[in-house]
Amino acid sequence: MTRFDYSALHDFATNLAVKLKLPGDRAEIQSDVLLEADLMGHTTHGLALLPGLLGGLESSAIRVSGEPEVLSDKGSAVMWDADRLPGTWLMTRAIREARARLTQHPVMTIVIKRITHIAALGAYLRQATDHGLIILIMNSDPSMRTVTPAGGAQPQLAANPLAFGYPTNGDPILIDISSSAVANGWVRRWAAEGKHLPGQWLLDAQGNPTDDPNALFGNPRGAMLPLGGLDMGHKGFALGLIVEVMTAGLSGLGRADGLSGDAGTPVFIQLIDPAAFAGGEALKREAGWLADACRATSPRPGVSKVRMPGDTALASRKAQLKDGVALYPTIMPELKKWADKLGVSIPGQLAA
């Protein structure tokens, strides 16, 4: 696998966006968030998204300047209209805003509509957990229908991810799960690589369960099952509805409007300050104890060890900051096209 120096990649990604008129500070934040995903090993949601974002900047589908419109502000409950502002920058800005208000409002909720691609939800969590805070992020896409209701054959919802982070007295716990049996990006990659899914997580166009990733992209196309699969899909469907209601429902950017993909998506961000409850130390103690107890428990046959959500990602992050970022092989060739077009030099690979 080819490796690149973190800061060289960061400069490269920033330069590409700046060439397309994204202001420098916003481009820096975009690079922070995308590279954080690659560092954590979320290789479908890091620099792999940059070509699409550059396309959006070029076509003005992404609005490079201006501020979000404040639609409602009740102190602890805020709603913004992003009108296609850059997702990575605006998410970071919203989390900062929520943090600043926490002493007065220990449970802060910000709902944003019409935001452009926010990349990996998990890449934002440390912006709260590093400050001893709990964070919940949900995102849906009313223009996308890929996941069926439980018992249904027709897709009605998107993969509706939910991310949740909290501090411990060791590393933070970083959760980022989709409410579908599997996320879109993985199905696409498995299809491209001619692999089968590990389980029957899809339905074909007739509604029959299958492990063939191509079923999702056929004509007529198939659908993804909700988390829980064939037997317990009502739970994943319920989770998808929770995400839908907190994002599309609260923002008014829902399916009732019949939106196109260019309209952006709705996002829900909530920060909780444990100081307003039993205190930050109590939270870290409890959360740390449980995390250590889980890690120390013996694994079941066939599993090498029990990991907490985020353990693998944080270990990968640490290793890649030191040894260089191992970019997924399909990423740099795509970025090279943009680099050539915009006259930006490509970072050199690190020696193997």
Binding site: Q156, I177, G229, R285, P299
Partner: protein, 357 residues
């Protein structure tokens, strides 16, 4: 969760409510508290949650008698920042504590549109749906999570030994018609069902358990063996990390925020509860909110079912239809429930209700 037994006897809603209230009052529960407890338990039976309704009353009565459950006093306010509240429940009945918190949170909504309320050392809260119904019918989006740190039945993803409880997530929201009511455990299946399947000697529909060696099994008895087996998280063997993650989220918002989790657990830790209310009026507005939630629900209900299913249902559809029916025709009480309650009725000198003929 609804499972109606054909041999069940039916009782009128009001007769069951009066009966359950009278039993509580006989053990010196204040009348309002006894009434709330009865309302919440009977509401669960109305909606078909037969393991978490009046089925829980005998144990609640036993705990009152033994002093494990208190019937006098108030919760201690550990912290109140208006939008963020922590109560120590002092082992008062969970039904009473949650309804009190819910009513106070709803009073605060116009000023504080998002409120998170945590309760530690609460008595058993029962099913989540009865509370969800109250809040969502009042127009709010409600989240409710509970855990019991003394109950360890669910393994971490990939682990052999159980460390957490089935940690349910409840979520309710209004539409233009009936609300949507979600009540899911973050385990592959809830404890109550395993217990019932075990007593009826039935296998589980899938391998949702591990025996004490960590091998996957569909035998419910594995959970109660010595050494005991464990429940898998939601997602089963392949996707257990997602259910485990949800279980941890519940742990954090209940045990983490209340400071009573797994370190030095008091034996009387009871239920830990996280309750959150959101007023859509502070965001898009109530009317547009319910317009959108109704449109989504309708789209799902009219969408084509997959082979083997009659129709697509929204969470709560069956429970609310059953509630409507049982309200007028009487409640099918699960057969094991009334015999247990009759023992208490004779002991306390309360006349049991007559079944509807």
């Amino acid at each position: 969760m609804s499972d109606r037994a054909s041999s069940a006897e039916r009782y009128s809603y009001s007769a069951l409510l009066d009966f359950a209230t009278a039993l509580g009052e006989k053990l010196d529960m204040p009348p309002a508290m006894a009434r709330v407890q009865a309302e919440i338990f009977v509401e669960a039976d109305l909606m078909g949650h037969t393991t978490h309704g009046l089925n829980l009353l005998p144990n609640a009565l036993k705990e009152i008698q033994s002093g494990q459950l208190q019937t006098a006093g108030e919760p201690t306010v550990v912290s109140d920042k208006h939008a963020a509240v922590l109560w120590d429940g002092n082992r008062l009945p969970g039904t009473w504590l949650v309804v009190s918190a819910l009513e106070e949170a709803m009073r605060r909504m116009s000023e504080t549109p998002v409120i998170a309320w945590v309760i530690r050392r609460s008595g058993h809260v029962g099913a989540l749906s009865p509370y969800l119904l109250r809040a969502s019918r009042a127009g709010y989006v409600v989240t409710m999570m509970t855990t019991n740190p003394n109950m360890r039945t669910v393994v971490p993803a990939g682990g052999k030994d159980p460390l957490i409880a089935p940690n349910p997530i409840g979520f309710g929201y209004p539409t233009q018609r009936e609300p949507i009511l979600i009540d899911i455990s973050t385990a592959a299946v809830a404890n109550g069902w395993i217990r019932r399947w075990a007593s009826e000697k039935r296998s589980l529909p899938e391998k949702w358990l591990q025996d004490s060696e960590g091998n996957l099994t569909d035998d419910p008895a594995a959970l109660f063996g010595s050494p005991p087996g464990a429940l898998l998280p939601l997602g089963g063997p392949l996707l257990a990390h997602k259910g485990f993650a949800l279980g941890l989220m519940v742990e954090t918002l209940t045990g983490g925020l209340s400071g009573v989790g797994h370190t030095g657990i008091p034996a009387d830790a009871g239920n830990l509860v996280y309750l959150q209310l959101v007023d859509p009026a502070a965001f898009v507005g109530h009317d547009l909110f319910v317009q959108d939630t109704s449109a989504l629900a309708e789209q799902c209900r009219i969408s084509r079912p997959r082979p083997g299913f009659d129709s697509v249902r929204m969470p709560g559809d069956m429970a609310l239809a059953l509630r409507h029916k049982q309200m007028s025709e009487g409640i099918d009480l699960y057969p094991s429930i009334m015999p247990d309650l009759v023992k208490w009725a004779s002991k306390l000198g309360v006349a049991p209700p007559q079944p509807i003929v």
